[in-house]
């Protein structure tokens, strides 16, 4: 499973030298879309600023001391820069590789200084007991159905912070006759560690999950967390720990959108929050799900199925959707910046005039709901919760 060791991050950084050079010389064509720049309005905290840190580091003109490291970690890796970049430069990947280098040089910023140890010890990012990972899911688990068998990879945030999303997802799957199997030895998918530069620890976790999936014999894996889906699909091969050959990973919205007809037949009652005939909802595209996995239509197709639900889009939506601020461990490294980004997204949600905010990511839910203020306190539901209510 392990294969040959990947190149060290400085070699890898050099492979991207052309891109980091060009980005450092860019006329700032994507800066307006960078959530951290929009919040700070500093040219150092921007795609070009970060590319410049990388270039100066590669050219031995700067060491990875406190401020350059801060600039590298003040990025949510949301990919907005890439979405606005006509040549499609992979600046987020370069920042990940530079962070890997930061970790190798033992220069991690304070907020994540022991993130790898925490995850290694507890198998999750929240220092919660591993044996409680699925505690609140017991009542709905392992109901056998006649249809497909899938692995439901729950992920840390859903398991420990938003089990209501898992309960709802399992309910929806069950109504479709799908049996959701949980991997009892599931551990953190490793995504936060990859994003933070702790590649080695991420690889160890990836091996455990790959092993668990391989022995399950089931080759369809569903997640409700876009970060987990991205890790399993895209990060694991880069870590040289790919899933067994025939395994297909879906975010649950993709899986369900393929079963739209079946869902439609099950949906009968109007799904309105206040009993009104039409509820305006707005949909926040999670960065990992949208820009990284290209999943924009499935959640919207599912929303369309729901009677009484009318979608009003954010002004910045789909591949231009703004990040919620939770990406790439920013709430741990720069909580104030992460909060400011969340406030902006919540204000934008309020601007849509919708009365319900929907998304498809436990981390977006966690972050946005924890930063709601009285003026931006719109009810927030994961799409699975909305679907489950409609299927009650």
């Amino acid at each position: 499973m392990s294969g040959s060791p990947p190149p060290s991050s400085s070699d890898a950084l050099d492979q991207f030298a052309k891109v980091s050079r060009l980005c450092s010389l860019c006329a700032r064509m994507c800066r307006h879309a960078c959530p951290t720049h929009v919040a700070t309005r500093s040219d150092a905290c921007s795609p070009v600023g970060r590319a410049l840190v990388v270039e100066l580091y590669r050219g031995h003109k700067t060491a990875l001391t406190e401020t350059p490291v801060d600039r590298l970690y003040q990025c949510t890796l949301c990919g907005a820069c890439k979405a606005w970049c006509k040549p499609g430069h992979e600046l987020p990947r370069i920042i990940e590789l530079a962070r890997e280098r930061v970790i190798q040089e033992h220069r991690a910023p304070l907020g994540i200084i022991d993130l790898d140890q925490t995850v290694s010890k507890h198998n999750n990012v929240y220092s919660e007991p591993h044996e409680k990972r699925f505690a609140s899911l017991a009542p709905v688990l392992e109901q056998q159905h006649s249809g497909d068998n899938v692995i439901y990879f729950v992920g840390c945030t859903t398991a420990y912070r938003h089990p209501e999303i898992a309960t709802a997802a399992i309910h929806v799957l069950n109504r479709l006759g799908v049996t959701a199997h949980i991997l009892q030895n599931e551990v953190c998918c490793g995504s936060p560690l990859v994003r933070a530069g702790y590649t080695e620890t991420a690889r160890t976790l990836a091996r455990q999950n790959v092993e668990a999936i391989a022995t399950s014999g089931i080759r369809t894996v569903l997640t409700t967390c876009p970060g987990c889906a991205r890790a399993l699909k895209h990060d694991y091969p880069k870590l040289n720990t790919p899933l067994p050959g025939s395994t297909t990973v879906f975010h649950i919205t993709e899986f369900l959108a393929k079963r739209r007809r079946q869902l439609q037949r099950l949906l009968t009652s109007p799904t309105t929050t206040q009993g009104s005939t039409s509820t305006a909802v707005t949909y926040h595209d999670p960065c990992h799900l949208g820009r990284e996995l290209g999943v924009y239509n499935p959640p919207r197709q599912l929303l369309q199925l729901l009677p009484g639900i009318r979608l009003v889009e954010f002004q910045n939506t789909r591949d231009h959707a703004d990040c919620c601020g939770a990406g790439a461990v920013l709430p741990k490294t720069f909580p104030q910046l992460a909060a400011e980004i969340a406030h902006r997204r919540l204000d934008d949600a309020a601007q849509t005039g919708a009365s319900l905010l929907i998304s498809s990511c436990p981390n977006c839910k966690q972050h946005l709901t924890s930063h709601q203020t009285p003026s931006s306190a719109m009810p927030f539901l994961d799409l699975m919760e909305l679907l489950a209510r409609a299927l009650k």
Binding site: L22, S24, L25, R28, S42, D43, G49, T67
Partner: protein
């Protein structure tokens, strides 16, 4: 690093005390980030990891009072202050050549008011053009100011650098869009011009600051004209047998009172580039891209009149596709690529303008002079007036090394501007002066005109703190310490 000497720590502390620690930085890496704007020569240098000129401090004011505090301290200590809004200027105007303070206006980005009766919007200087247009478009309005830098340039910079957007034939250049200004003078005093459609109470003071590139004052707030979003937008392209015929047709548009949103006439070299995917044009042929944008009725009238004029001139109608394709992909050229930014490569754009009587002669002379130095050129004419128009001459070339490329870059500018000047043109239509064209200011304005500008500078800014050396102003008061490599286009 800097050419000024002051106690950075003490000044930093003083400013922090007045405006808050989060609004100030002297971190090395941040200072390097502010060592550049979008001047190609500076980018060529940065590509070699030349990290100067760096400011000593970066300050992000959020209120007018913050700026007043900073300017008072800078005046007392004789510290250079360089304002920057978007940092998209292409002439080095926002480079802190003498160190000191970079005053980044981007945190002053409030939208202060929309007057739907007068059709104006009032905004702070650090709001990006893109952000303003996002705000306006959902409300059914636009300023119509659409420079190709709209994502990276800000409203204050539009005024400071006297910008012109690609739709300026219809909506006006930025100096026509500005109704009134608020400016902090170098001594910290606040000037506000009246928000009125026009006045004949003496000279128009706001125009003194529009185009002053941060040398006369800091623009903090602007009231701008807005228009309703157009009811109809249509595209058209015509292929003319040669440049002269195309130019004559454009002049005829003006003689027939047409004010189209976009008129872009390409020379034969750029025509090949623009039409690449649509058609292989005959030798010498020049394409004209047009956008009609108005009420449906007016668009239909414009279309008919334009088509008649172009067909009478022997132009081949190409339909809407080439023009629409250009519009949809108009930013593509501005992303960094190895073609223009690779080691040893040199590129830039000369943006000049002249009366119709001189325009074509100027074009041919510039091309000849520049191409003699071994660079390729392609050009278009994209801002037209009843009496003349601009030329946008793009050049690209290479040299044996990056240093040689930088030297060649300066020579190409020199011969290009000389040719433009001799042909009776202005040396900048829309990109401004900065450092690049600073040595040419006396040539452009003549000794009397330039002495007058110097006297105004001396009166407003006796300590020469505001953007010293830019526009060629204030260099007497403080001998130029701007490094020779930072001066594009050798002295005329």
């Amino acid at each position: 690093m800097s050419s000024t000497s002051f106690n950075v720590r003490r000044v930093r502390r003083e400013i922090e005390h007045l405006i808050g620690g989060d609004n100030v930085s002297d971190a090395e890496i941040d200072r390097v980030c502010y060592s550049r704007d979008a001047w190609p020569l500076r980018l060529m240098q940065l590509g070699r990891l030349v990290t100067k000129p760096r400011p000593d401090l970066i300050v992000w004011p959020t209120t007018v009072e913050h700026i007043q505090h900073v300017l008072r301290i800078a005046n007392a200590e004789h510290i250079p202050v360089t304002p920057v809004s978007g940092g998209s200027g292409v002439c080095g105007g926002a480079l802190p050549t003498r160190g000191g303070i970079i005053l980044d206006l981007k945190r002053m980005n409030r939208i202060c008011g929309l007057d739907e009766e007068s059709y104006t919007v009032t905004v702070e200087a650090g709001l990006l053009g893109y952000e303003l247009e996002q705000y306006l478009s959902v409300r059914g309005y636009t300023t119509g100011h659409a420079p190709s830098s709209i994502f990276s340039s800000a409203v204050g910079g539009f005024a400071a650098a006297r910008s012109a957007g690609v739709l300026s034939s219809k909506y006006g250049k930025f100096e026509e869009i500005v109704v009134s200004l608020e400016v902090v003078l170098p001594n910290g005093e606040l000037l506000r011009t009246k928000t009125v459609p026009r006045s004949s109470m003496g000279p128009d003071l706001k125009q003194l600051f529009i185009g002053s590139e941060g040398t006369f004052g800091i623009i903090t707030e602007l009231t701008l004209r807005i228009c309703p979003l157009p009811e109809s937008t249509q595209f058209a392209s015509f292929l003319f047998p040669d440049l002269h015929t195309g130019m004559e047709a454009v002049i005829r548009f003006f003689r027939r009172d047409l004010r189209l949103a976009l008129i872009r006439l390409y020379d034969e070299n750029e025509t090949r580039f623009v039409l690449g995917r649509f058609k292989s044009p005959p030798e010498g042929a020049c394409v004209l891209n047009l956008i009609y944008s108005a009420t449906k009725k007016l668009v239909s009238l414009e279309r008919r009149t334009v088509t008649r004029i172009c067909e009478a001139a022997g132009a081949e109608p190409l339909g809407p596709k080439p023009s629409k394709h250009w519009w949809d992909n108009r930013f593509d050229l501005y992303y960094p690529s190895s073609i223009n930014l690779g080691p040893g490569m040199l590129y830039d754009v000369l943006d000049v303008a002249a009366s119709y009587a001189n325009l074509e002669t100027m074009y041919w002379r510039m091309r000849e002079a520049m191409e003699k130095l071994g660079v390729s050129t392609m050009s278009h004419f994209s801002h037209f007036y009843p009496d003349g128009g601009n030329i946008y001459v793009i050049f690209i070339g290479h040299a044996g090394s990056s240093e040689e490329a930088e030297a060649k870059y300066s020579r190409v500018w020199k011969v290009g501007l000389e040719a433009a000047h001799r042909a009776g043109g202005t040396l900048s239509h829309q990109h401004g002066v900065g450092l690049l064209k600073a040595p040419w200011m006396p040539v452009e304005h003549g000794p009397v005109g330039f002495a007058l500008l110097e006297a105004i500078k001396q009166y407003l800014d006796p300590h020469n703190i505001l953007n010293p050396g830019k526009l060629g102003l204030g260099s007497k008061a403080s001998p130029s310490t701007d490094t020779p490599t930072a001066q594009g286009g050798d002295s005329p």
